[in-house]
Every structure is written in C-alpha cells, then in structure tokens.
Symmetry: C2
Subunit: 221 residues, 2 copies
C-alpha cells in the first residue's frame, strides 16, 4: 500500500474485529516494521510481548472495565451519554494483544542523543508503534491502543520488571468493517480541526502568511 494511503486510512479500532486468524508471517512483518523505527542512539529500547492467552487478556480487560467506570463517573452529564456509546477496548475479540515496552538500560548508559532528554527512549518506542500501525493497515489489520488502566497493574499481570516502562497495550485483528472517519468523530465525541490552526512560522503564535495557509488548506494526501 502507498505510504500516504496507509497514513490516511489507518484507524484506531476497538470494534469490528473478525474471527479470522492472522498468519504468523504477517504478525512477524508488522513487528519487523516496528523494529525498523528510528531509535535514539540506535538503542532499540523496545520489547514486544505477544499475548494470545485468553486468561491473561481477561485480567487486563477487567482492569479496563474498572477504569471505564471511574472515567464515566468523572464526566460532566452531557458527556456521559456520548461516552456510553463508545467502545473503548477489543481485548478479547482481537486476534492478538501486543504490549510494547521501553528499556532505558538497553545498550548501556552512553546512548547518543539521550543525555539531555531521557524521554527520547520512550519516544523511540512510540515511533515503532506507528510503523506497526501503518504496516498493519497495509495488511488490512486493525490496531487499537488501550490506555484505560494503571500501567503498573498491567505490568504485574505480564511480569514486566519494575525498571521497564510499559508504553502501549495494542489489540490487533482482521476487521469486518473499515471506516473512513475515526470512531470518536462518528460518535460525535470530538471533532478534527484543520491543520492550518496548528502551524506557526519561526516562533510560537506567529502565523504563516496567507499563501502558505492556503496551500495547507488545499493540501491532500
């Protein structure tokens, strides 16, 4: 698939997972796409834990259900109704879950480019996740990133050591439906804004000239 197509058609999905198996060869390609990501000082700080065991997944799903209630209760009344219609996880229905972690000690202490911004290790792991997401999209596989939990609770379930950071918990599967819009837009939870609102020139709050703003507004990928 063309890279712009994959970027445009990629969705964060929790619904419409089919029962179809994903061949190991395809999972492997998706993981390899992640492994080709840039990493600070070539530190490759990532690990990928593939979770097929349904009992482990049930434990994670239980954590999410609990936090779903907590979030629901924290919402103002007008948002509660919208939130009720939104599915926030497909942990059991997806074919495989993948936990993605960051090891700050990988390849020793002298990581080139990390001395002054420690988070660059975590950021490397996130870059890998976007590669996986796009590779998956090109294989017609949906990914949902789940974050309704305290990461320390998930680390306990997966035996992840204290010094390793859990960056993401992903759910992957073939889909029965592909949607053009993000689910949160379809269900009127939130709107997308035009890119031109988010661009500055040379300094914060300094808007580009009208010519460039028009180019952005007319840009398509």
């Amino acid at each position: 698939m063309d890279v712009y197509d994959a970027i445009k058609k990629r969705r964060d999905v929790r619904s419409w997972f089919s029962d179809e198996k994903i061949p190991d060869e395809i999972i492997s390609k998706i993981l390899l796409a992640g492994h080709y990501a840039p990493s600070v000082g070539l530190s490759e700080p990532w690990n990928f834990i593939m979770i097929k065991d349904i009992n482990i997944r049930k434990k994670v799903r239980d954590l999410v259900n609990k936090k779903r209630c907590e979030f629901y209760n924290s919402l103002p009344e007008d948002k509660k109704e919208k939130f009720e219609k939104i599915k926030i996880e497909g942990i059991l229905e997806s074919y495989v879950n993948i936990a993605v972690t960051c090891d700050f000690n990988r390849k020793g202490p002298d990581i080139l480019g990390r001395a002054f911004i420690r988070a660059t290790s975590e950021y490397s792991t996130v870059l890998a996740i976007e590669n996986m997401w796009l590779a998956a999209r090109s294989e017609n596989i949906g990914i949902g990133w789940i974050s309704f939990f305290n990461p320390e609770d998930v680390k306990k379930i997966l035996n992840i050591p204290d010094e390793i950071k859990l960056v993401a918990y992903l759910t992957l599967g073939k889909l029965t439906e592909y949607h053009d819009k993000p689910e949160l837009e379809e269900k009127q939870w939130e709107k997308r804004h035009n890119l031109s609102e988010y661009i500055f020139m040379d300094k914060w709050n300094n808007k580009p000239d009208d010519n460039f703003i028009n180019i952005i507004k007319n840009s398509r990928i």
Copy 2:
C-alpha cells in the same frame, strides 16, 4: 512509495543535505501526514513551528554545540574517538527546521484515554512525527531529530509557553546521498540486533517457540 519501502529506507540524517528548495506543497503534505496521526481522544495535541529564520537556527545550533562538548567529556576514552566522527546536527544546512510540541490542554480536560496515562498526549505527538518521517522519505526528503539541548532553552528561543512541551526538533532537507544503513551503524557507534531477541510470548521473558522465532528471523519487509 510503498509503506514497507518507506519504513525500510527511512534514515535519521544529519549529513548530505543539499541546497535544493523544498516546495511549500511538499512541506504541507508532510505536515498533513503528521496531522493524520492517531491522537489520544482525538485531541490533536500537536503544533508545528516551521523555522526558516537562520538567526533563530544559529541560536539553537549554539545550544547543541555546547551540549555536544558536555556529552563528549562524559564519554569513556574508547567512545570519544568514535563520537568525534559523528555529525549530530544539520540545523543550518537543512532547508527548514520544524519544532513539534504537545499541548496537554488541547480540547479540554476530558480527553478520552488519557485519564490514567498523561503521557499519551506526548505519545500522540510522536506518532505524528513518524508519519512525517515516512511521508518525507517517500518525497526523497531526509529528516534528522535533534536532542542535544535542554528543551527549556529551545523553548525560550522559540517563545514557546511554559505549559507547552517541546517534544522534537526536526531538520528537513533534500539529500545528495541516500544510505542503506543508519549512520551510527556505519560509523560503528552501535549495532542493530535481530528482532527475535526482543519478542516475548504472553509474559515478560517467555520466549516464543522455535517455529515463530524462525519465522521472525526469515521475515523481510
């Protein structure tokens, strides 16, 4: 360009920037690719500051030069020699610099999916950066991510408010050379490891069976 091709051929570059102009239409497409990234709760927390002003860039380059010395001095003797050969920034030679920031207050307090992991906003911004990197590669434009500075110092130069996080400082330009290997591998700073070392099954430290390990080792994208 095919998405796997872009993933495989993408490099983090500091050298070989040419003098060629990048048309605004192409910059716009790269920014739009970033804007199509997944964001927690559809919060789109990013801003992109395009920096063309050479005097601003000189100020950032001066910060980097200072930190380069600091890092050099912190290294053990055997690594100092290798580090001397490595170019760590192309701030002035590149066509444009882009600072990418994260606004934790974008679209209000009830961001769906962020309640329990605040960093998901930063992570969204990093996902956008990988989209930009791949889109740029498909346009034959190189990107280098610079992190040799205290982000607070760069924020002052760019007038970025206290409450906004500077996530990345990127340098973009057409290239005179395209390399197959990362520069840090070419200059023997660090080696890439095989993906199979980084994969676990169901729990941390639980290796996949030999069959899956072989599939990973034979996987190509």
